[in-house]
Point group: C2
Chain length 214, copies 2
């Protein structure tokens, strides 16, 4: 079982590494970090580089595709090597998945047309521009397409995926192995539960990024 995690410049680290930590523990599984070119790719803040070990050409038919998100997603919203690979790989994949704004890439490549999907809460509505049906849930499954909400949601998605691919015992063993018994110190992980002033701060950061004004 080959898991291909797709990354690109200015990806968000946890989008990729959350699922990695889960999927790399599946017995008999093989995870490979895939991108346009081999070598290091850096996160949006630049202070962490992961290595792309295989190009799109090297990994034509993964069983499972996981597309990370992050600000660099904006560079992959029109036709190009990423979209062409995704469409070809999706034709034979068992599961095609994404974390955070990775769903926008899948949608822009035409793979989520008419399908329920999620994304980072700040980007959720954008899915509709590409024919997907924005769905406000942490993990959304529609056929073989599984999309996760923002950043940390990829961990939850991946554990569910392991249960679907293997069984509940393996999935729970992986969860116990990574001691995933979360205790967030605040109730602030969703715009529905965070204090309004905190939601305003994060929305403000987003507007600030969009307009580029400092």
């Amino acid at each position: 079982m080959q898991f291909a995690i797709v990354v690109f410049d200015r990806f968000t680290a946890l989008d990729a590494v959350g699922p990695y930590e889960v999927l790399s523990r599946v017995p008999g599984g093989e995870v490979v970090f895939v991108g346009e070119r081999e070598g290091p790719v850096r996160t949006e803040v630049g202070s962490l580089a992961l290595t792309v070990d295989a190009t799109f050409t090297d990994v034509p038919h993964p069983d499972v595709i996981v597309v990370a998100g992050g600000p660099g997603q904006n560079d992959h919203m029109s036709d190009g090597p990423m979209h062409r690979w995704l469409r070809r790989a999706d034709a034979t994949s068992t599961w095609t998945t994404s974390v955070c704004t990775g769903s926008l890439i899948l949608a822009a490549a035409g793979l989520l047309a008419g399908r329920r999907a999620t994304s980072h809460w700040l980007s959720l509505e954008l899915l509709a521009e590409f024919g997907a049906v924005p769905t406000e849930e942490r993990v959304v499954t529609d056929g073989k397409y599984v999309t996760a909400a923002g950043v940390s949601a990829g961990i939850d998605m991946a554990i569910g995926l392991v249960a679907a691919i293997t069984d509940a015992t393996v999935a729970q063993a992986v969860q116990l192995g990574i001691e995933y018994d979360p205790r967030p110190p605040f109730v602030a992980g969703s715009p529905r539960t965070a204090p309004p002033e905190v939601v305003a701060v994060v929305r403000g950061l987003r507007d600030f990024i969009r307009t580029g004004e400092r």
Copy 2:
């Protein structure tokens, strides 16, 4: 504010990247991946490499130290460059922290003597061999020493650390930014809550690793 995340060959990816995703969002903060040598270091399963951007010599006085864990921790349990750096850096740090079996490295370096600390649940009792007081909590704070339980606990630890370093609004904004509203698909993240047969499977894997028998 400089955050130094310490990694080494055969580290566990999420131990490092969970805190990274949180700490890299602190306004005015700078995260640097530190190790004995610059260049790629691979996880215990080998399918992911992160880049060490700075050597121990390059980062003598970080404000915050975060030591990752993972099977490679066993290579850093006796005196050597890692211990010498940790002791020097700890002399001036504001916070000295670890995730998973990273606490065993801190303890072996002599930094947790008499202090309450935690680790991955499978390794918790080993802390006592190095003079620390094993404490079965997800995040343990004793003075400026903060230790997190296994793998995913580094996310919870880092959000709490951001609150301590800045304030609750920033910490909650970071939590909302990474949409950390966890929904694990199973109740299996702790040996206290996982089904006994799942605990047995994970303990068995550990014994298998220890004895090296296949």
